[in-house]
């Protein structure tokens, strides 16, 4: 009979929030303290299926996650009588902060309320590691990951000028996760890739750029921890990066001119390195 304690975890937020929960789920599983069931929306299994194993089961709902989050509370997937934690990504406002320190704080509070052991979460900010156990693809030419799809972040407004980017860096291929509207040779369509595939692709790229901070966050892997990264369309004077960590290279760029400068500077630096 297992000495581990039963625990059900889920996140009722949008798909992007489930990705932020990965390190929490992984560390809870690695602690050896719990028999875990992780509840997810239909189709979101790919974000956590690599965590399944001895003592960890992924249970998928029949309802797909909507844009705002779970259609119905995923706690309905919890086995009968199991303690349940609906993971909150930190902070006390309506919107979570999505900072690891706050996530840990909120989770430990929930564990303490249920009388479960705490103190096993690491202090060092972990990466989401959606690429775990995968092999990054080999690219023919140096690549720039361009997350030109966006989620509904109301705080971001940006329009990519793909033609200008392609012209400014002709020696790089731009892998565009939101599709390509101009038939230029170095603009490559990556819109059909899953999030896990995008995470792997990002590890093969030299520079990581996105519009909204999610789904750019799929590039938060250990291999990419200190790789040049930029999120476009934010005012850096009033917005802070999500999932911040010491040495985070993420720059918030308000306009196309700033983006081109960023790419040229980092492309030159990568060439010289």
């Amino acid at each position: 009979m297992s000495a581990r304690l039963p625990l059900f975890l889920c996140c009722n937020g949008p798909r992007s929030h489930l990705a932020y929960c990965r390190p929490l789920f992984a560390q809870a599983a690695r602690s050896g303290l719990f028999d875990l069931v992780i509840g997810v929306g239909a189709g979101d299994e790919e974000l956590v299926e690599d965590l399944a194993g001895p003592g960890v089961v992924v249970a998928a709902s029949r309802l797909r996650t909507a844009e705002h989050g779970a259609v119905a509370d995923l706690a309905h997937l919890a086995p009968e009588g199991w303690p349940r934690i609906r993971v909150w990504l930190g902070g006390s406002s309506e919107a979570p902060t999505c900072q690891w320190e706050d996530v840990r704080d909120a989770f430990e509070r929930d564990l303490a309320r249920l009388g479960l052991p705490t103190g096993f979460l690491e202090e060092r900010v972990p990466m989401l590691d959606l690429s775990a156990n995968g092999e990054p693809p080999r690219l023919d030419r140096p690549g720039i990951y361009l997350g030109n799809d966006r989620d509904g972040d109301p705080l971001c407004h940006f329009v990519f000028d793909l033609g200008r980017l392609a012209e400014a860096l002709p020696d790089f291929d731009f892998w565009c996760t939101g599709g390509v509207d101009e038939p230029l040779e170095n603009l490559r369509d990556a819109s059909s890739l899953s999030w896990r595939e995008r995470a792997l692709l990002s590890e093969s790229c030299e520079i990581l750029v996105g519009s909204t901070m999610e789904p750019l966050h799929v590039t938060l892997t250990e291999a990419n921890r200190f790789k040049p990264r930029a999120a476009c369309g934010y005012d850096p004077r009033v917005r802070a990066p999500r999932w911040d960590y010491p040495g985070n290279p993420l720059e918030l760029l308000p306009g196309m001119d700033d983006l081109v400068d960023f790419l040229l500077a980092n492309a030159r630096a990568r060439c010289l390195a």
């Binding site: 797909r64 119905a72 997937l77 902070g91 006390s92």
Partner: protein, 621 residues
């Protein structure tokens, strides 16, 4: 009118008559019921109107679009002398926005012959042209109207494309407009707001020649719906979608805003038509099952649901698929709940019922059905208690929001009802006695007041008569106990421990004329002596005429339990040694475990003063 009064006037228009004109702004809506009075974010409207105000009163504005409810026109009417509304031939007259003798409503069809002359005539002498970028005809409207705006006129359009609120890629259009039309003419496109914002430029002779040349990159799809089983079917993106028949194309923005009573989605036209037919028959049966469950007749409810599952085996999965597109559609949630509840996943059914309750907490039928589902289908008493708790909370939140909107005015915190919805206790330092009545109105029953000024204390004591869980002490507050001199003016309104600043501009009746000795305590000291229960200080309200930072310094033992702090701040020199707002903010954000972030700041009607609202950063343990 000062800034605060102006902003209040705008908010007043946005909330004046919800039944007729909608309520609030584009970003203050419930996801399941979106009916804004002003279809722009609140911050954008405020910033835009303040910008127009700084340019001086504008003589004439021409407005097109914005849902036709007149909210935009009423707001513009605060500044603009004459507003011309251009309405479509099939659109109604915007509600009650026409001021007699000053405003006009004209019919304008951009594609009709003579549209160019009509545009020119409407825009003659205009200072502002404002277009709704979410309009399906935005491209045509801009092409017709923008070139006719006279030099010096501001041309503005709303852009919600990155918030999913446009029917064409207006953001791309705006980028092209600036690059190809405005910059070559020496002009710039400015933007107020983020994903949902307002773009504007100032027309010149050069820009007038160029702006009509820019095209919206791709025209919105104008598919014609197919009719089947009483529904309109149309391809929307990768799916086929069915909505109750109206003979009009399905509007993506309306879909996004939960604007259709029923939405069914399927991967193909054939499967969508089948789903619509099946639902036409099975829907009323599932509705009946819900009524039976609400009445406690679980057996017959179960039989009704089972017969639907037998006859229409694909219906349940079709309903679940539709929920991805329309997660707040009540006419979808309830039948889907019934399908699941009496299948092999009853907890999924209960979860769907709870999702329905979230948007309709006072609908008795759903509440009874959910309760009976817990008790009689699942046998789960804990879930029953949870549901009843959740429902009580939601009803309390709705009531508090209504009280804030209808009965409370004047303080910044009442404009943010979400921040007060869970508060049950408060500690108040200083301030006017009226605050006591306001807190009580909101059901914040556990309150401690510290008031040093004798007349204010007497008034407060009278208000607290019979209020069991409220307590008041007559003392000043600071960072440590001691004695202090309270300086008072003739009007006794602004009693302070600090002397007046030499540069202070103060009305004669408020000038400090006398002083009295008062005991000074700290909140920590009062907590240690048992006068305050530190666990009952969810709201900390400090209005102490310059002593705010000292009081905060002496309140460390309370802060772990505080969720919201309201601090009166001085934005001009009034008292010698009073802290700057930045100092208070820095102190609150530098606290380690219990730091607070600035959530809102609003200027007071009185010059040089304001109220800052801080929210705890990290979740309370």
């Amino acid at each position: 009118m000062n800034v605060r009064e102006f902003v209040e006037a705008i908010d007043g228009i946005a909330t004046a008559d919800p039944a007729r004109f909608g309520h609030g702004y584009a970003d203050t809506q419930y996801p399941w019921r979106q009916d804004p009075a002003i279809d722009l974010p609140r911050s954008v409207v405020h910033e835009w109107m303040l910008f127009l105000g700084r340019r001086g009163i504008l003589g004439k504005a021409v407005v097109r679009g914005f849902q036709g409810k007149g909210g935009i026109q009423r707001v513009l009417g605060l500044l603009i002398e004459s507003i011309v509304t251009l309405r479509s031939p099939d659109e109604g007259v915007p509600g009650a926005c026409v001021r007699e003798g000053r405003d006009h409503v004209l019919v304008f069809d951009p594609s009709a012959p003579g549209a160019a002359d009509a545009a020119e005539s409407a825009l003659r002498g205009a200072n502002l042209l404002l277009l709704d970028g979410s309009s399906a005809d935005f491209a045509e409207e801009f092409r017709r109207l923008a070139p006719c705006a006279p030099p010096g006129c501001l041309v503005a359009f709303a852009d919600g494309s990155q918030a999913g609120l446009a029917r064409a890629p207006v953001d791309r259009f705006a980028a092209d407009l600036e690059r190809f039309a405005l910059r070559p003419a020496g002009a710039s496109l400015h933007r107020i707001g983020d994903a949902h914002g307002l773009c504007w430029f100032e027309q010149s002779v050069l820009t007038a020649r160029r702006v009509g040349m820019i095209r919206v990159p791709c025209r919105p799809e104008r598919e014609r719906p197919v009719f089947a089983a009483g529904m309109d079917l149309q391809r929307v993106g990768p799916r086929w979608v069915a909505v109750p028949a109206a003979g009009a194309a399905i509007d993506r923005v309306r879909l996004r805003r939960n604007g259709y009573r029923l939405v069914l989605a399927a991967p193909s036209e054939a499967s969508c038509a089948k789903l619509a037919r099946d639902f036409g028959t099975a829907g009323p049966l599932l509705e009946k099952a819900l009524d039976l469950l609400a009445a406690g007749d679980v057996e017959h409810a179960s039989r009704a649901a089972a017969s639907v599952a037998r006859e229409f085996p694909d219906l349940a999965s079709g309903l679940r698929r539709s929920l991805e597109l329309a997660p707040f559609c009540l006419d979808l949630l309830l039948p889907a709940a019934m399908s699941s509840l009496f299948s092999d996943r009853p907890r999924e059914g209960l979860a769907l019922l709870r999702a329905a309750l979230e948007q309709a907490p006072v609908e008795k039928r759903i509440l009874l059905a959910a309760r009976n589902a817990c008790e009689r289908v699942l046998g789960d008493a804990e879930a029953t208690a949870e549901i009843l708790d959740e429902t009580r909370n939601r009803i309390r939140w709705i009531e508090r929001a209504r009280i804030c909107r209808d009965r409370l005015r004047g303080r910044a915190l009442w404009r943010y009802p979400r921040l007060v919805r869970d508060l049950r206790s408060a500690v108040v330092a200083g301030g006017s006695p009226d605050l006591a009545s306001e807190l009580r109105l909101l059901g914040i029953e556990d309150v401690f007041f510290a008031q040093p000024e004798p007349e204010a204390f007497a008034a407060l004591t009278a208000l607290l008569a019979g209020w069991e869980r409220a307590k008041a002490v007559r003392c000043a507050l600071g960072s440590a106990p001691g004695a202090a001199r309270l300086r008072i003016g003739k009007r006794r309104r602004h009693a302070s421990l600090l002397g007046e600043h030499p540069l202070a501009e103060i009305a004669a009746e408020d000038r400090q004329a006398s002083s009295i000795e008062v005991p000074r305590r700290s909140l920590d000291d009062l907590a240690a002596s048992g006068a305050i229960d530190p666990r009952r200080a969810e709201l900390l309200w400090i209005d102490a005429e310059g002593s705010e930072l000292e009081i905060l310094r002496g309140s460390r033992s309370l802060l772990p339990n505080v969720d919201v702090i309201v601090v009166s701040v001085l934005t001009e020199p009034i008292y010698e040694g009073a802290p700057l707002p930045q100092q208070i903010q820095a102190w609150l954000s530098d606290l380690e475990r219990d730091s607070f972030a600035l959530r809102a700041f609003e200027p007071s009607p009185e010059r040089g003063r304001g109220e800052a609202i801080y929210l705890r950063r990290r979740i309370r343990r």
